[in-house]
Amino acid sequence: MSEKTNYIPTIGIECHVQLKTQTKLFSEVDNDARGKEANTCISPVDYALPGMLPRLNEQGIKLSIRAGLALNAKINLYSRFDRKHYFYPDLPKGYQITQMYHPIIGEGYIELPSGKTVRIEHAHLEEDAGKSSHEAGYSLIDLNRAGTPLVEIVSMPDMHSAEEAREYVKELWRVMTYADVTHGDLYNGNMRFDVNISVAEAGSDTLGTRTEIKNLNSFRSVERAVEYEVQRQIKLLNKGETITQETRGWNDATGETTSQRSKEVAADYRYMPEPDLPPIQLTEETVDQEQQTMRPMPGWYRTELGKILGKDIIEVLLDYPPLVSKLAELKDDTAIKKIANLFSSVLLAEENASLLNDELPSVTQLSNLVEMNTNSELSSTGMKEVFLKFFDPEMHYKDTRTIAKELGVIQENNLGELEKIVDAVLTKPETQKAQEDYKNGQEKVLGFLVGQVMKESRGKANPSTVSEILKQKLQ
C-alpha cells in the first residue's frame, strides 16, 4: 500500500445526556448532586437494597419526549425497559435499566450549521451508573449519580472528519439545551460522548474496522481524539497492519488514545425485559403538549436571523438561548441588528460576563432604545450606557427614556436651542481665530468649533447637527 492512499474516515457518535429532572429516574431522591457530599443523594432503590423496586419519574419521560422532538425524531408511543447486566461496584443492582428493544425515541436527524445533516438512529432512556475513583490500593464509590436519567442519542455514521464530529457534538449540545432537557454543563459530565471511528480507502463500499473512544466530555476533546485516532489508524494501515476492534481511552494531557484493557470487549450483557416496570404507553396528546412548549431550535434562528444578521454573529449569539429568543421577539430589522451588536459587543464582553445571569431588558425597553438612537436622541455611546443600566438593580425597572434622562445622555436636537449654544460659543474670544481661519478656507478647524459647542452643551448636542449650523453661520 502506498503512502498516498486516500483514506476517508467514518464517524458515528453516541451521546449520553443527563436530564435535569428534579428527582432520579427510578427513585424520589434529588437528582442534582453538584457540590454535594458523596453518597448523600441516594435511596435504598439507588443502592439496590434487596426488595426495592423502581418507580418511574414522569418528568424523565417528558424530557425524553422533548429531546426526541429536538432531534426531529419520531416519538414511540410504546416503549419499554430492559436490563443490561454487568458487574461493577458502581452499578449497585448488577444491571442497568435501559431500553434495548423498544426505545422511546425513533429515527431523527439534526442539521449542522454547515448545512450537513446527521441522521439519528434512535435515542433511549436509561439510568446513569455511580462514579468510581481509584486511589492507590483502594477504590471509592459515589452513588449520587446512580439513577440519574440519561438519554443516549445514537447517530448514524454520517460524519467524515474531526471538524464534522466537533460540529455535530456542539450542535447536539445546543439542541439539547434549547429543548431545555439538560443543564448542559459539560464540565460536570452532563453530556458525554462515545465516538466510533474507522477509516476506509476512498471509493471502497465497505467500512474499515472501528475503534470506540469512550467518555469524552468536551467538543475539543472529541475533535482532537478523532484527529489523533484517524491518523493512528491510517499509519497502521500504511504499515500494512490491521486495526483491532476495541475500546480506547483518550488522554487529554498527552493528546493520545490508548487501548483499554477492556472487560467489555468480551462482555455479554444478557439483556432481559425489565419485569418490575410496565411498558410506557404515551398518547398523542402528551407529545403534543410538549411540542407546544418547545422553543424554536437553533436551525430556526439561523434561518430567521440569517435574513438580517451575519453568520458569525448568529453563531456567537446561539450559545446563549435567551439572547436569540429575545432578538426574535424584536420585530424590526434595524432593532435586531442594533441589539444584536449590543449583545455581542457589550453583554458578551468579558468585563460584563456577570450580567448574563441577570434578567434581560424587556422588548419595549430595547425597542425604545433603538428608536432613540435612530431619532438621534442617543448617540451610540449613549445607547451603550443606557443599555448597561438596564442591568442595574436600581434602574432595570425604569423605561428607556427615564434612564437616558437620569444619565443625561439625551442629545440636543432642537435647532433653536442649538443655535443659541452655537451663538454663545461664537462670541467667545477663544473661538475668534478659528472662525477667521475657517472663513479663509481652513475647513479642518470646523472640528475644533464643533468640539467647543459640544463642550458647552455638556455633550448633549448632536454633533452632526452642530456642524451644519456652524457651516451656515460662518458662510
Binding site: 434487596p50 426488595g51 458487574f87 419485569p275 418490575d276
Partner: protein, 462 residues
Amino acid sequence: MAILAQTTNFVARTQATLEKAHRYQEKYNIFVTIDDEGAIQKAQELEQKAQAGAKLGQLAGVIYAAKDNFLCPGSDTTASAKILTDFKSPVTSTVIEKLNAEDAILIGKTNLDAFAHGSSTENSYFGPTKNSKDLERVAGGSSGGSAVAVALEIVDFALGTDTGGSIRQPASFNGVYGLKPTYGANSRYGVVAMASSTDCIGFFTQTAQDLDLLMQITSGQDPKDLTTLPDFYRHDDGFNDPIKRIGIIKEFDNDAVDPEIRQAMAQEIETLKNQGHEIIELDMPTLKYALATYYIIVPAEIASNLARHDGIRYGFRSADSEDLMSLYQNTRNEGFMSENKRRIMIGNYVLSSGYYDAYYLKAAKARTMIIEEYNQAFKQCDFILTPVSPNPAFKLGEKVNDPVAMYLEDVMSVPLNLAGLPGLTVPVGKTTAGLDLGLQFIGPRRSDAKLINFVANIKEKN
C-alpha cells in the same frame, strides 16, 4: 382456629406464643429469628392503647410470623441465605406495614429455601424445617417455616411468597389454607425478589375466611410497586352466585400422581357434585410445557435479581480476596447455596447472546400460549380444581440431591404463576400414613374474593 382480634391480655398471649415458638423451634426448626423483644414491645403498646381507650386495629393482638424474605427493621432479613447473614433492613415491606398498622403482632421470621429456591425448605442455610405431622419428612417449600408455624398453631397466620407453588405446596403438606393471590394484588415492595414477574405475596391460615380478612387489609395498588393492580378486591364478590362450574384438567390425572391424591380428587369432585356444582372436563395440552417454560423464565429473573449480592454494600463478604474479581467470586461462591448457583447459571445461560432467542424468547411465547389456554378454560368454567403436587410430603434428603425430581414436584403448581392467576390450597384430609393432603382451586385473574368465598362456602356446607 380463626383469626380473632383481641381486646385484652395482649402481653400474656404474646408471652405464651413466644414460649410455644421457642419450644417447637428446637424440634421443627421453624424460625430464623424469634423477635421476643419486638413482639412484647408491640403487645405492651397495644395494652396501653387499649387502657387509654384508643381505637384498636382490625388485627389487634393477632399474632403472625413472616417468611424471612420480608424486610422489616426489627430483625435481620436473611432469606435463609449466608450471603444475607446479619443483614438489617432500614425499610419495612408494604404488606408488613399494613398488617402492623392494623395492630397485628409479628413474632418472628420463618425459615425458607435460601432466596425461596426450592420445594422443601432443605436449601436453607439454617437447615431444613420439619413437617408438622412427620419429623422425618419435609415441610414443603419454599415457605416451609410459615406453613408449619400455622399448622402447629403457634401463630394465627403467616406470610409467605409464592413464585411457583411456595405457599400452596407447603400448605398442602401441612394441612392449612394457603393463598397465592392474583399477581399484583399485594405489593412486592420490601420483599427479597426471586422472580419479579411471578412472585406473589400470600398467606397461610386455618380458615378460608381469614384469607378474606387479610386480603382486605393488604391488597391494593402501591406506588412503590408499579406492577400492583388497581384496587379490585371486593369482600362480597360471588356472594350472590354460590353454584359454580368447576373445571378438571384431564392431563393432570395420570399415573405419575400419587393414588391417594387421585382419590382425594375423586372425593372432592363427589362433594362438589353433591353440593350442586357442575364438573367440566378440560383439555389443556399446553400446560405440559409450563414446567419447562417456568424453569427458563424464572431462573433468568433470578440470575438478574441476585446480581446485586456482590459483597460491596451489605451482607456477607468473603474475608480474603485479592482483587475485585476474586471478591465477587469468593463472596458469591461462599454466600450462595448450590441451588442458588444452579439457578443463576441456568438463568445466565438462557439470557446469553445466541441462546436468548432459542430459550428465553421461546419461553416467553410459550407463556403467552399458556395464558391463552387458561383464558379459554375460564370461558367454560368458573374455577379449576387440581392437585397441588403429584406427591404428599416426601422424606428429608429424598430429592434434595436430584434437582430434576425436585423440579417435577412443581409441575402442577407453576402453571398458574406463569399466568398470574390466584390459587388457593384447601386441606382435604390425610393419607393412610397420616400425612396432610391439600388440593388447589384456581380462578381467573382478579377472582380472589370469589375464590375465597367459594371455598369458604363449600367447607361450610360439607
